[in-house]
């Protein structure tokens, strides 16, 4: 019995010794050797900006269909819901999910740069947050804002009113501009700012241009007139102006001909070594846009579209929703002016878009300057941005007597500006065209889908909140009521 006791004590002692031997260091091996757990804001900035470029240029292919730029290939069986506007709440959910994911990164930049006292970097984060929240509001209306981006500490974020978000974004942009001013001489991320290479004056113009875009969105809302005037006064007082000729807000981290490193729009159409992708085979030219460029003798026709295979000058396209499909060998593809190469930059807000907005603002008497001058500069920028020349542009807008081409010959100047703005936003920025169409109904003859199952002869004014919200934020999204894609308008739609 005594020996048993001894043995037990002995064993326990061994156990205790080995326990003690298992010091804290033995278990402290849980430090991640694979991923970084801390990153400075200027290291997050390039990735976030690249995501923005990809977001703007590749998330809205369906709008190229809706806005008369592209149509489905006749070689594939396309789901009816992709042709007749009868989509579900799973349709293009990426606009929401990617939007918030990118926002989370800009929010990190904003907060972390504040901690590190890097006002320039912080201001960039704030400006880019405004870019993305505007996309969300313009697509969905009310969205989570004040309670968003807080992870599990606010796991069911409530929705804020769309107009409240808009108003807050103006304040955020003002705060950004103040930070840019205050930050003069402080840390500048330089090349890590893959949009403006640390050129703060461009950031300031960009911020003002974003403000102008949000103001123009509200142009048809009479009750917003005084707000608009107040904001215009602030912009004018700032003295920074807007993005002008040659000033593209576009990103380029250094795209190369390598898998996953191509320009994202280009990469959607070609793999490395120029092997076409499925997307390339599925999206072909739309007959409406082809007719417009052809009828106005627009040199950009060959920039936005390729000739029909085995021809050099024959362009052909079909209308969205057609049942009289044509195979790929008979129609034009997306052209070399927007598929320039693997290393092309991703335009977030191209110079021609800024100039068209200034033209409209001038025409409305919101800003000083000649609307015609802005209009012609904008067309010229558009030509240059798709690889055409200023001379071709001048020849184009100087054609006498053509309505909506020649500014003086145009009956309705706003219509001319929007028509030409539409003609410049083909493929890369269809979101802006859709927004103008929703705001002004221009260009008025954009064909509605001719798919026979279309019952509502109207282009939708919004998307549904995504399925993920209905699954994971049920109460809050249901508080928005039943959403209809034709009638549940964004607040700025008249």
């Amino acid at each position: 019995m005594k020996t048993i006791k001894k043995a037990i004590i002995g064993v326990l002692a061994v156990g205790l010794v080995s326990l003690a031997g298992c010091s804290k260091e033995y278990f402290d091996i849980n430090n991640n050797p694979n991923q970084v757990t801390a990153a400075t804001p200027e290291l997050v900035l390039p990735s976030a900006l690249a995501s923005t470029g990809s977001y703007v240029n590749t998330n809205f292919f369906f709008l190229n269909l809706w806005m008369g730029y592209w149509n489905w290939s006749g070689n594939y069986s396309i789901n009816l819901s992709d042709k007749n506007y009868q989509f579900t709440n799973s349709y293009n959910q990426g606009i929401w999910s990617t939007g918030y994911a990118v926002l989370k990164n800009y929010d990190y930049i904003d907060k972390q740069a504040a901690t590190l006292q890097q006002p320039l970097v912080q201001a960039m984060g704030k400006v880019m947050k405004a870019v993305h929240y505007q996309y969300l509001v313009d697509t969905y209306g009310d969205v989570p804002y004040s309670q968003a981006l807080q992870g599990t500490s606010s796991i069911l974020p409530a929705y804020d009113k769309a107009q409240v978000v808009y108003d807050s974004l103006f304040m955020q942009l003002d705060m950004a501009l103040a930070l840019f001013k205050k930050g003069d001489g402080t840390f500048n991320p330089g090349p890590n700012d893959i949009m403006f290479k640390g050129d703060i004056s461009k950031w300031q113009k960009f911020a003002n241009t974003l403000k102008l875009r949000m103001l123009l969105r509200q142009s048809e809302k009479a009750d917003r007139a005084s707000f608009i005037q107040a904001q215009l006064a602030t912009i004018k007082a700032s003295g920074y102006g807007f993005l002008g000729a040659g000033e593209n807000a576009s990103v380029n981290p250094g795209y190369v001909n390598s898998s996953g490193q191509q320009n994202p729009f280009y990469g959607s159409f070609y793999q490395v070594n120029t092997q076409p992708t499925g997307t390339n085979n599925q999206y072909k030219a739309n007959g409406y846009a082809i007719a417009f460029y052809k009828n106005t003798k627009d040199a950009r026709l060959g920039a936005f579209y390729t000739p029909v295979p085995a021809t050099t000058d024959k362009f052909n396209g079909t209308l969205f929703g057609t049942t009289d499909v044509q195979v790929n060998s008979l129609v034009s593809s997306i052209g070399p002016g927007v598929l320039k190469g693997v290393d092309q930059s991703s335009p977030v807000l191209p110079s021609h878009m800024s100039l068209f907005m200034q033209a409209e603002a001038a025409q409305r008497g919101w800003i000083s300057g000649s609307a015609k001058d802005y209009y012609q500069k904008a067309i010229t920028e558009s030509f240059i941005n798709v690889g055409r020349t200023a001379a071709e542009a001048m020849a184009y807008y100087s054609q006498t007597g053509i309505n909506n081409v020649n500014f003086d010959a145009s009956a309705n100047k706003i219509e001319a500006i929007i028509q030409q703005k539409w003609a410049s936003e083909n493929s890369l920025n269809p979101f802006e065209s859709w927004s103008d169409y929703r705001r002004l109904g221009l260009p008025a003859d954009i064909p509605i889908s001719i798919e026979p199952s279309v019952t509502n002869k109207q282009i939708p004014v919004r998307l549904f909140y995504p399925q993920t919200e209905y699954s994971f934020n049920t109460t809050n999204v249901n508080a928005q009521g039943t959403i209809n894609q034709f009638t549940s308008k964004i607040f700025w739609i008249k």
Partner: protein, 1093 residues
């Protein structure tokens, strides 16, 4: 140390000498009380020593040297042991009385602890070597299938080196590992290693069902354990050499139901409409919605460029009969696979020492042409006992090579899919289509414009995925018997495994003619222009080391017996993977990453974790009929934060031998024995991968771009305060022996797992897509019944019949999730190189209040009477459940919200093994049934889209009234749909209707009966072998596996045991979807020869 070992050896010799001096030879014969027949192989041991012998094969005779005052113990499986004092006799004949009780058998449980059956209060089952290998399985897991209740082994795919999912008692964790812990010779191992073991090397497999039985294993024990003990040496001191050869053939047993009446059409416009707007034959389509076959001769594809001997090019069109060929060419595409196994073993030993050597070579050719699998295993075991000191060493090493096709050049589709996308009349398996160099079979001329020739990807070096795996697992233990009641053992185990994988696909370029798309089809050539080559390299290195200390103390006090085991376990695991790939190469045919175009894509992952556990196991016994075992274990793990890393969990179990305790039950001829048992156990499990406590940043998409770095926040929010999951198990069991012939065991258990570690989906507006948190509870209940005959039930003139049946009922229910979250998706598994990253989402969920795993798919709209404000509300209730069709089109309407479609875990399983013996002839069959589950046949959905599925012809491709449908009237009521037919009963209905888009249309019962094993063996009698002195035994046999499968008629698709997404080797928890990535079901049949020298 060495000196003292030698010393103790010498000491033991001294002790032995005096006893030797007084011994005399004792002989005798052992017979059975049943029929007086001689019993060969009976163990005869001098009581109190380890010395002994066995009775011979011929007459049940033995001879042993023993002193007159010694007692001999005679024991034999299926008979009651007997002790007989020798006295002055030199002849001791014994009649052994049959005993169905297994109570006294020794069972190896957790940590190799040897316990007698009667002491066990938990669920432990055993499968012996003969039962395991009767049908010559290549994979040990296949040999266990259907043989034990509670154990489910599913082969999730066919083809070479197919993986198996091994679960005990269903699932406990939503997303964590639910597969049984695998322990080989005391060393914690894994299912992948199990697949490398030569089944012939296995002496016994013990199944520890559930957490109670396995509690001592700690963190992995909640899933139960499969403990494999390999063969040691023979105890007879005569070298045993054996050789066996198994050759098995594998052939397709069931193809999905394929239509053979209609030709190709994929919705082409003019001119592929006839005057009546009927779809006509499109010779280049993969979709099959064209006109019926009529036996005429028709073109297949269009003109292809044919070059004659002079180099002149002309266009020629292949013409074939417009009718289904005699044998379905799609089935004939597949080969008859051949598996040959050679096993050699050498074993020798006596009571104290043993040595064993096993060699195995397996060569398998798959049913997919050119798919190959090779396995070479070497196993070595040895042990030596010198007095109180004993030691065992075992090493198993394996080399496995799999060589599989790697998808086509167009979409990377598996070969099966490209076979299924061929028109029924296309003679794909004969010349010229089966020749990828002929003008009609090459990439330019192959008739099918959308799917490449399936022969391209199986030919030569075009598309291969080759993986080589080298594994060495070894263990060594030393133990010392300090006192008769005190033993100390230390075991060191380790495994190193290295996998090298390389896959590639060849570049394809097309002729100018093909690129111009002469058929205006938008064919592969014109769509892709060219197909880049690609190459992927990867390595995986894993190591696992365990150290176990076991101190066993088992003194006896009067009527009380005690056994106390104190132990400590240290475990360390390491994983390193690297992968690099290129999606375009410069020089064709050089599959090396340095021949890439663009930057290399490279990836590296390392992980390491450590565990330190201490445990105790105390068994108290009273009068050898009541036993209580209490265990406790405390783990510390590196995976959790300092505050949460240490956790304790206890278990208690009891067994009560009623027949020994209650005098009235003793010596009852009907109830031979009865044992009642019960247990409670709690087990902690850490379902967290290393480094999942901190939030991380990953390089942004495409970053770094040269010198431009960029990081993005992970979309997963991690929680630094994660805690372990806990599984609580309660069970009661009854074991009875009936008529001295049969054993019946029945168990009921309930298992609750709380505090699961799950990545829950969150509103994307939080900035994250998921958050890893502790949440959720799952409750499982089950009943397991095993009935087996311990001795033949019929034994008439040498004819024997034994039965072994098992029945399992189990159901797991999700009782709680996070807040009001309704369900969590169960993703497919991550890839080999990113084990910590889940794969794609599946259609199965952990859904609150539903059975786990719950299949959720879209359904078509149906009449309901639950929600008066919802759509299709029928107050009368008379039409509830019936599909609602559009009054104008006759088509059903899609219900956009996914609905629960059933569970994919079989609720009932039944297995029966019958063995018939007559003289040297034995016939064994294993039949298994699984029922109560559903399966989502995504394969069927895909087949109906292409028009190849048989169901698409049930309506004759004509417009039809959707079966059982109703129409909603203007006033909201419903009426029978008598005459509104679908606007189209052909292409539109089968490819674009709500019926097609509703997953529910492809959900069928997953029930099946399978004839798992049939084996017929003949042991050639020694009388015939007599003239050859060196051959001691010779067995020949025929074996078959999965010969017959019976399914409900609605399942015209595939084997419902299959599961997985685009990874054919998926063994994740996302069970229940069949796809074209699994090859068709097969059956195995073959023969074997075994020789013993």
């Amino acid at each position: 140390m060495r000196k003292s070992l030698i010393g103790s050896f010498l000491l033991s010799l001294l002790f032995c000498l005096p006893s030797l001096a007084q011994e005399t030879a004792v002989t005798g014969r052992v017979t059975s009380s049943d029929d007086g027949s001689a019993l060969p192989g009976v163990s005869v041991v001098i009581k109190g020593t380890s010395r002994g012998t066995t009775t011979d094969a011929a007459g049940g005779k033995y001879q042993i040297n023993a002193s007159p005052n010694a007692t001999l113990t005679f024991s034999f499986v299926g008979f009651k042991p007997q002790d007989i004092a020798i006295g002055n006799r030199t002849t001791v004949d014994v009649v052994l009385v049959a005993d169905a009780s297994t109570l006294n058998e020794v069972v190896v449980t957790a940590f190799g602890i040897k316990t007698s059956e009667r002491q066990i209060g938990t669920s432990v089952a055993r499968v012996n070597s003969a039962l395991l290998t009767q049908a010559a399985p290549v994979n040990l897991a296949n040999g266990l299938t259907g043989k034990v209740s509670g154990l489910q082994i599913s082969t999730t795919n066919n083809g070479v080196g197919a993986p198996t999912a091994i679960t005990l008692r269903g699932s406990r964790s939503f997303l964590g590992n639910n597969q049984a812990l695998i322990v080989v010779d005391g060393v914690i191992s894994d299912a992948t290693f199990l697949a490398t073991i030569n089944p012939d090397d296995v002496a016994e497999t013990t199944i520890l069902k559930g957490p109670s039985a396995a509690a001592l294993y700690g963190s992995d024990a909640s899933n139960g354990a499969v403990i494999v003990t390999t063969k040691k040496g023979s105890a007879k001191n005569v070298p045993q050499i054996s050789y066996s050869n198994n050759t098995q053939f594998e052939s397709i047993s069931y193809m999905p139901g394929l239509q053979t009446q209609y030709s190709g059409n994929g919705g082409e416009g003019v001119p592929f409409y006839d005057r009546n707007y009927r779809r006509t034959y499109v010779p280049y389509e993969n979709q099959q919605f064209g006109q019926p076959y009529d036996g005429s001769i028709q073109p297949l594809g269009y003109g292809v460029e044919v070059r004659d001997a002079n180099g002149n090019v002309r266009l020629d069109t292949l013409k074939v009969p417009f009718a289904q060929p005699g044998k379905d060419p799609r089935r004939e595409f597949f080969n008859t696979g051949v598996t040959s196994q050679h096993n050699v073993s050498y074993r020798v030993g006596d009571g104290q020492n043993y040595f064993g050597l096993g060699l195995q070579r397996v060569d398998q050719k798959g049913v997919v042409p050119n798919d190959k699998y090779q396995r070479t295993t070497i196993s070595l075991t040895g042990g030596r006992t010198i007095d109180k000191f004993s030691s065992n060493v075992s090493v198993q090493s394996a080399y496995i090579k799999t060589d599989l096709e790697n998808g086509d050049f167009n979409q990377g589709r598996p070969v099966y899919w490209n076979v299924l996308n061929q028109q029924a009349h296309a003679p794909i398996n004969s010349y010229p289509l089966n020749d990828i160099n002929s003008p009609y079979g090459n990439v330019n001329g192959y008739y099918n414009a959308y799917y490449p020739n399936p022969y391209w990807q199986i030919t030569g070096d075009n598309s291969r995925a080759v993986s080589s795996r080298y594994t060495v697992q070894g263990s060594a233990d030393v133990s010392y018997q300090f006192k008769p009641w005190l033993n100390v053992l230390y075991r060191l185990g380790g495994q190193i495994s290295n996998t090298q994988s390389k896959s590639h696909r060849a570049e394809v370029t097309f002729s100018d003619y093909a690129l111009t798309d002469p058929w205006e089809a938008g064919n592969i050539a014109s769509s892709t222009g060219k197909a880049n080559a690609n190459v992927t390299d990867g390595t995986v290195l894993t190591t696992r080391f365990t150290g176990d200390l076991l101190v066993t103390i088992n003194p006896k006090f009067g009527d009380f017996t005690t056994k106390l085991i104190l132990g400590q376990q240290t475990r360390q695991q390491y994983l390193r993977t690297t992968q690099d790939f290129a999606t375009a190469l410069v020089v064709p045919g050089v599959y090396n990453i340095s021949n890439r175009l663009g930057n290399a894509n490279v990836f590296e992952y390392n992980s390491q974790n450590r565990l330190f556990g201490v445990f105790g196991d105390l068994t108290l016994g009273y009068k050898n009929y009541v036993f209580v075992t209490v265990t406790g274990r405390n783990d510390q793990t590196s995976l959790l934060s300092e505050a949460n890393r240490s956790f304790f969990y206890p278990s208690v179990s009891a067994s009560f031998i009623l027949t020994d305790a209650i005098p009235a039950l003793k010596n009852n001829p009907v109830l031979t024995y009865a044992k009642l048992r019960g247990s409670y156990a709690k087990v902690g499990q850490v379902n967290v991968y290393p480094y999942q406590l901190q939030n991380v940043f990953n390089p942004g998409t495409g970053f770094p771009f040269g010198g431009q770095a960029g990081y993005a926040q992970s979309s997963r929010q991690n929680d630094p305060n994660l805690k372990p999951e806990f599984t609580t198990n309660k069970e009661v069991g009854l074991e009875v022996g009936l008529f001295g012939r049969a054993n019946l065991q029945a168990v009921y258990y309930t298992t609750t797992t709380t505090n699961q570690t799950v990545p829950i989906d969150v509103s994307r507006a939080t900035g994250y897509s998921s958050a890893l948190i502790n949440a959720g509870t799952m409750v499982s209940n089950g009943v397991e019944i095993d009935l087996s005959t311990s001795r033949p039930i019929g034994s008439v003139s040498g004819f024997n019949w034994t039965i072994n049946t098992n029945f399992t009922f189990l159901q797991s229910k999700v009782t709680e999730l996070y807040q009001d979250l309704a369900r969590i998706n169960i993703p497919y598994g991550g890839n080999l190189f990113r084990p910590e990253v889940f794969g794609a989402g599946s259609d199965v969920y952990a859904a609150r209040t539903y059975t786990y795993p719950a299949l959720y798919v879209n359904d078509i709209q149906r009449v309901q009477n639950i929600d008066p404000n919802g759509i299709n509300y029928d107050a009368s209730g008379q039409f509830v459940g019936r599909p609602v069709v559009s009054a104008s089109t006759g088509y059903p309407i899609l219900d956009p919200n996914p609905k629960y479609a059933g569970t994919t875990q079989p609720k009932y399983r039944f297995g029966i093994t019958n063995t018939f013996n007559y003289k040297g002839l034995s016939l064994a069959t294993v039949i298994e049934y699984r029922g109560g589950a559903v399966i989502y046949n995504a394969l069927g959905n895909a087949l109906e889209f292409t028009g190849a599925g048989i169901r698409s012809t049930y309506g004759g491709r004509q417009n039809f009234v959707f079966p059982g449908s109703v129409i909603q009237n203007a006033d909201g009521t419903f009426s029978n749909n008598a005459n509104v037919t679908t606007k189209d009963g052909n292409l539109t209905f089968w490819t674009n209707s709500a019926y097609h888009n509703a997953g529910s249309s492809y959900v069928t019962s997953a029930d099946f009966w399978k004839l798992r094993e049939v084996s017929l063996n003949y042991k050639i009698p020694t009388s015939i072998l007599g003239y050859t002195k060196f051959i001691k035994t010779l067995t020949v046999g025929f074996t078959g596996r999965n010969l017959i499968m019976l399914r409900p008629k609605t399942n015209v698709f595939t084997d419902p045991e299959f599961s997985g997404g685009t990874n054919a080797n998926d063994v994740s928890n996302a069970v229940g979807t069949t796809t074209e990535y699994q090859t068709p079901p097969t059956r195995f049949y073959g023969f074997r020869i075994g020789v013993g020298f």
